[in-house]
């Protein structure tokens, strides 16, 4: 997450499928509030898709089947 260019719009939070993004009260040098990534990211890349400021670079472990299991576990 290239948080130096984040503008704190929070569009990433509701689209995150496993719900592992939340806004903090921390701010970057530009003064925008920043998100935080919790454990449980499935690499679905929804955050990267919606972000207007190119903050996210997304990696994925494992295969599709494994991810589907994990999504079920995460309850989303």
């Amino acid at each position: 997450m290239a948080l130096d260019r984040c503008k704190g719009c929070a569009l990433c939070v509701p689209v995150c499928q496993p719900g592992v993004l939340e806004m903090t009260t921390e701010r970057n040098a530009k003064g925008y509030v920043l998100p935080r990534l919790l454990d449980g990211c499935t690499g679905c890349r929804a955050c990267a898709d919606v972000c207007p400021d190119f903050v996210f670079e997304v990696y994925r472990f494992g295969d599709v089947e494994h991810e589907a299991e994990h999504r079920q576990e995460a309850g989303r």
């Binding site: 503008k7 890349r45 190119f54 997304v58 990696y59």
Partner: protein, 266 residues
């Protein structure tokens, strides 16, 4: 190689061992990820999928974008493809001149709703009626963002703009014009779609619409138009994290999403 241990999360930065990258920060075609657009603006998302589609279709070195006037115009300072910045509303006419001289290039316009539907209504309707082989792209947020957020010809009833903070009232300002629906009825028009960038599945569909539009042009099928609803929380006077929802509830009410005119069957 399959990793069968449960995924517990990845570090916030740095490339994780054994992981595959599924999304880059930004398309390589953008020379810079810095831009002056507002927090929560939908335009950069549209920029991203546009340049990615140009790349996928191998059009990077054979496309020319004719760009109107608006916040989105900044794309011309960062995207590594050829651009001609033109007068407000006139892009479809300028694009026609370009395409007629370079018929084997992909020629498209990139305009806002104020540019295309307010100032440039004659241009887009005439060029669509002529069936010119160009692709018009409209980034539609229902405001003149660049001049401070005034009403445009696509502002929906009840939508807040600087022109009327109580929301557009038909008695004073009439009703919005849905250009995509209008040109979908023209015989020389090959493909029309309306997408949005408020959530990932809409973005994925919009990417497919863009691809279809450019393929339609390259096949010589006629005129194509893709409208993309983009968020403007600044213009709408909503918090950025409510922009996507405001778009769905207020902006998406009048105009249906989807392929309004699918490509001709082959």
């Amino acid at each position: 190689m399959t990793d069968t241990t449960p995924v517990t999360g990845v570090p916030a930065d740095g490339r994780p061992e054994g992981a595959k990258k599924v999304a880059s920060f930004a398309p390589a075609l953008l020379q810079s990820t810095e831009h002056h657009l507002c927090s929560g603006c939908g335009h950069p998302v549209a920029w991203r999928i546009l340049v990615e589609v140009l790349d996928e279709l191998a059009l990077v070195d054979r496309s020319i974008g004719v760009v109107g006037h608006g916040c989105y115009t900044q794309i011309i300072t960062t995207a590594d493809v050829e651009f001609l910045q033109c007068l407000h509303g006139r892009a479809p006419a300028v694009a026609t001149g370009v395409k007629r001289m370079l018929p084997d290039r992909a020629v498209y316009t990139l305009q806002g709703d104020g540019d295309m539907v307010s100032e440039g209504l004659a241009e887009v309707l005439h060029i669509a009626a002529r069936g010119e082989s160009i692709t018009c792209l409209m980034l539609d947020n229902g405001v003149f963002g660049d001049t401070g957020g005034q009403m445009t010809a696509t502002t929906t009833v009840g939508q807040r703009t600087k022109t009327d903070l109580e929301g557009r009232a038909p008695g004073a300002y009439g009703y919005p014009i849905a250009v995509a629906d209008i040109v979908a009825t023209f015989p020389g028009v090959a493909y029309v779609a309306r997408g949005a960038v408020d959530k990932p599945n809409a973005i994925a569909r919009t990417r497919r619409y863009l691809r279809a539009a450019f393929e339609s042009q390259l096949r010589g099928e006629g005129f194509s138009l893709v409208e993309i609803l983009t968020m403007c929380p600044t213009g709408w006077a909503v918090p950025t994290d409510q922009g996507a929802e405001y778009q769905r509830e207020q902006r998406g009410t009048v105009a249906p999403l989807g392929e309004l005119k699918p490509r001709p069957a082959h």
